[in-house]
């Protein structure tokens, strides 16, 4: 079967499943309601200095549970139900008075988000009857595909010309991000309960400190064990972030200091609408390879942003996408031999979701692609013709344990594998 015909067939299957769901959705699924909290039922809220406000015609009320600090968001039934706003489509097949699909229906939606969702992004939402979100995700995939193809075509036509490599490479990487992320968003949207997995910190902490351990497996370098220490200090839109990775079994260390200015988004003492932000970032990194007797010194500048996907669709509440683009320049110094200039293309995209709903808690998990070819993980090595071009993939997750204390899990895979855990302590910040 030719690819086009196969895609059309898959679309037809998805449409039929979605159509049957929309019919089923007329029947309330009462048993699933009882398990939902108010916040899960209502889902979307906007914060404004700690006050709730109406949105989409629904009357939201925000209540804080004094005992467990949980932020509960209730709603009246005047058309503001989660899943019924924005054209009556939210988590999918819930009808009036019902919010959650049955376990079987949810499973079917999740399966659809994988097959054919891995090819037709948004298929999970379409199967759930949420055509608006499903179509949006499919359109994003299409846009990503167009960008990626445009980037590849540009590189091919110019022969990867040094004059045009930056825009075409950026186009390709961002296109790849837009091509991949909707699939994850689709899966998230149909797999998670109403209200999502968690809430963002809409007020940023003013201080965060980190102390941890990383294990790095490299087939080339002898180091394996690292101590990681970092801090993050914020004042208004400013963020200063020093970080050190020091090998305990080799002469290797990486010292890095970053400074950023946040134009939009959560700041210390200033609540934002959600976790979305826009900022610019610059920094300096010195990576010393004492055993191999060389050093890498790099200065960099980039622009970065996060978009909470709750702004896009209610079913995606609690999830976010991130991207950043930048350039780095620097010098490699080979001890006693030479110092030579270098440059590096920076690009990154991520999909993640917040975890937990309690007011004082914090936590998020994200998977990402980072185009950096320096650092410990560096670029991917793959069999076949295309090794070396791609950067690395990673996963990081933070979670509050008790008051300001928390944990970070971090893993990356590229030319090396990096995995480790850190203790975090943060002051300030609030959902």
């Amino acid at each position: 079967m030719k690819p086009m015909r196969r895609a059309v067939c898959w679309m037809a299957v998805v449409w039929m499943v979605g159509h049957s769901v929309s019919v089923e959705a007329q029947e309330p699924i009462l048993e699933s309601q009882s398990a939902l909290s108010d916040s899960e039922l209502c889902g979307e809220e906007e914060h404004d200095g700690g006050q709730s406000r109406e949105r989409d015609g629904g009357q939201h009320k925000e209540e804080r549970d004094e005992e467990d600090g949980r932020l509960d968001v209730g709603c009246s039934a005047e058309g503001g139900d989660k899943g019924q706003d924005e054209g009556g489509e939210g988590k999918g097949d819930e009808g009036e008075g019902s919010e959650e699909p049955s376990v079987g229906r949810r499973t079917l939606n999740v399966v659809a988000s994988v097959v054919p969702g891995v090819v037709v992004h948004g298929a999970g939402h379409m199967a759930a009857g949420d055509w608006e979100t499903g179509t949006l995700l499919l359109a994003a995939e299409g846009a990503g595909l167009a960008m990626a193809v445009g980037g590849i075509a540009g590189l091919a036509v110019t022969g990867a010309s040094s004059d045009l490599i930056v825009p075409f490479a950026w186009l390709l990487i961002e296109g790849a991000g837009l091509l991949l992320v909707p699939a994850l968003a689709d899966l998230y949207g149909v797999a998670t309960p109403a209200g999502g997995t968690g809430l963002p910190q809409v007020e940023a902490p003013w201080l965060r400190a980190e102390l941890g351990y990383r294990y790095i497996y490299s087939p080339i370098f002898a180091y394996r064990n690292f101590t990681v220490a970092a801090a993050q200090w914020r004042w208004r839109g400013l963020r200063i972030e020093p970080e050190a990775w020091v090998a305990t079994d080799d002469d290797n260390n990486r010292l890095r200091v970053m400074a950023a200015w946040r134009f939009v988004g959560p700041r210390p003492g200033q609540r934002a609408t959600d976790g979305s932000f826009v900022e610019i970032e610059g920094g300096y990194t010195r990576h010393r390879y004492g055993t191999e007797r060389f050093s890498e010194n790099t200065g960099e500048f980039s622009g970065a942003g996060r978009l909470d996907l709750g702004r896009v669709a209610t079913s995606l509440q609690g999830s976010f996408v991130e991207t950043s683009l930048g350039l780095a320049m620097g010098a490699y110094t080979y001890d006693g031999i030479a110092t030579e200039s270098t440059e590096l293309l920076l690009a990154r995209f991520a999909f993640g979701f917040y975890t937990g709903h309690s007011r004082d808690g914090w936590g998020e998990t994200s998977v990402y692609y980072d185009h950096r070819h320096d650092g410990y993980a560096a670029g991917l090595k793959i069999p076949g013709l295309g090794s070396g071009n791609a950067g690395h993939f990673g996963l990081q997750s933070t979670s509050a344990l008790w008051e300001g204390l928390g944990l970070r899990f971090h893993a990356e895979s590229g030319s090396s594998h990096v995995v480790g855990v850190s203790m975090l302590y943060q002051l300030g910040g609030e959902r």
Binding site: F221, Y334, G388
Partner: protein, 354 residues
């Protein structure tokens, strides 16, 4: 699986250790240091493809008889000697020479005894200046490669060529054999390592036909080291071999060639190793090992720069999709070695305008 992905070149390095060895019932052939691939071995006949100007070949047969030894990709004035167990050498007469680089000799094998052949050009230890050429990235322009070869033949003193990878579009057998047919129109041999475009079908096919992808040999005061960087990395096992080759080349000129450069002079592009750190570690090792020149392909243009203080060239002018607006076009490098003065001079020879 992920660990395997990080060692994408390791299997080829392991395969290198098997190159130059073959056996059938009643006969065994071994080429020292794997400097030739054994193309075929049958009773009474062995054919090898040389990866260096000088070869030492051992043949052991269970029955006494005359063996036909065919060597391809040899320098045109190569001489063959049969070496006895006591070290006595006797010259062998060429039986046939159908192409300038293809020779056949007959040797008599005594049952159970090892026969050693030494194939060597007469000027192997001459310290005078001499020339060789380098090229890469022919890929899908194989139909036009004779343009390059015709231009190369206007330099009659060239002793051999070096190819830094991407001979073909995807490394299929038919493409590799076509490349050989075209290349054998040259009056001199070419020694190649593979590029990423040789990994499209079977990553060991290149080794079966053309020999080791990580290799080192000396000729006329110059050590040549060919490394397999086709997967944007060097196999960990090769770093150990490299230490030995650097020691062997420390007293003379040393040229290191590989396909994907450790660092791209256009860093934003990164047509280079997957890891900058690994690239820098390799370059630091080469610099401390006294390497005088590094030559790469992969980027379809021409660049001169230094890496870790070592003179570096990217010459990817074999014809594959060219970099635009660089004013280069198809080309190759002509290198003159001056062993006594411990220096190279290099010229970029244009085959056609950009």
């Amino acid at each position: 699986m992920l660990l395997g992905c990080m060692n994408v070149a390791q299997e080829r390095a392991r395969f290198d250790t098997t190159v130059g060895q073959a056996s059938i019932e009643g006969a065994t052939v071994e080429v020292e240091e794997g400097r030739a691939s054994v193309r075929s071995l049958e009773q009474g006949r062995v054919e090898v493809w040389a990866q260096a100007p000088t070869l030492t070949l051992h043949l052991t047969a269970s029955q006494t008889g005359v063996w036909e030894v065919v060597a391809r990709n040899m320098v045109s004035d190569v001489e063959a000697f049969q070496v006895t167990d006591t070290g006595q050498e006797g010259p062998l007469e060429v039986q046939s020479n159908p192409l300038p680089t293809v020779f056949t000799w007959n040797v008599t094998a005594v049952a159970g005894e090892r026969v050693t052949l030494r194939l060597e050009p007469p000027d192997a230890v001459d310290r005078g200046s001499w020339q060789f050429v380098m090229y890469a990235d022919v890929q899908d322009r194989i139909d036009d490669v004779q343009d390059i070869y015709e231009t190369m033949q206007t330099f009659p003193d060239v002793r051999f060529g070096l190819i830094s990878g991407d001979l073909t579009e995807e490394g299929s057998r038919s493409q590799l054999e076509r490349f050989q047919r075209e290349m054998e129109t040259l009056p001199f041999p070419c020694y190649a390592t593979l590029g990423n475009h040789e990994l499209g079908v079977d990553e060991h096919l290149f080794q079966r036909l053309y020999g080791r992808v990580n290799a080192s040999f000396g000729y006329r005061g110059v050590r040549f080291t060919l490394l397999d960087s086709a997967s944007a990395t060097i196999a960990p096992q090769v770093h150990g071999w490299l230490d030995g080759w650097l020691d062997e080349g420390r007293d003379g000129l040393h040229l290191v060639m590989m396909h994907i450069p450790p660092l791209d002079p256009v860093g934003f592009r990164n047509g280079a190793f997957a890891s900058r750190s690994e690239a820098n570690a390799l370059l630091a090792k080469l610099a401390r090992g006294g390497v005088d020149m590094t030559v790469y392909g992969h980027v379809h243009s021409y660049y001169t720069f230094t890496n870790a203080g070592i003179e570096a060239f990217i010459s990817g002018g074999g014809g594959a999709i060219p970099q635009r607006q660089d004013g280069v076009g198809r080309h190759f490098l002509l290198v003159e070695a001056y062993p006594d003065q411990e220096r190279f001079t290099t010229s970029m020879i244009r085959v056609e305008p950009p």
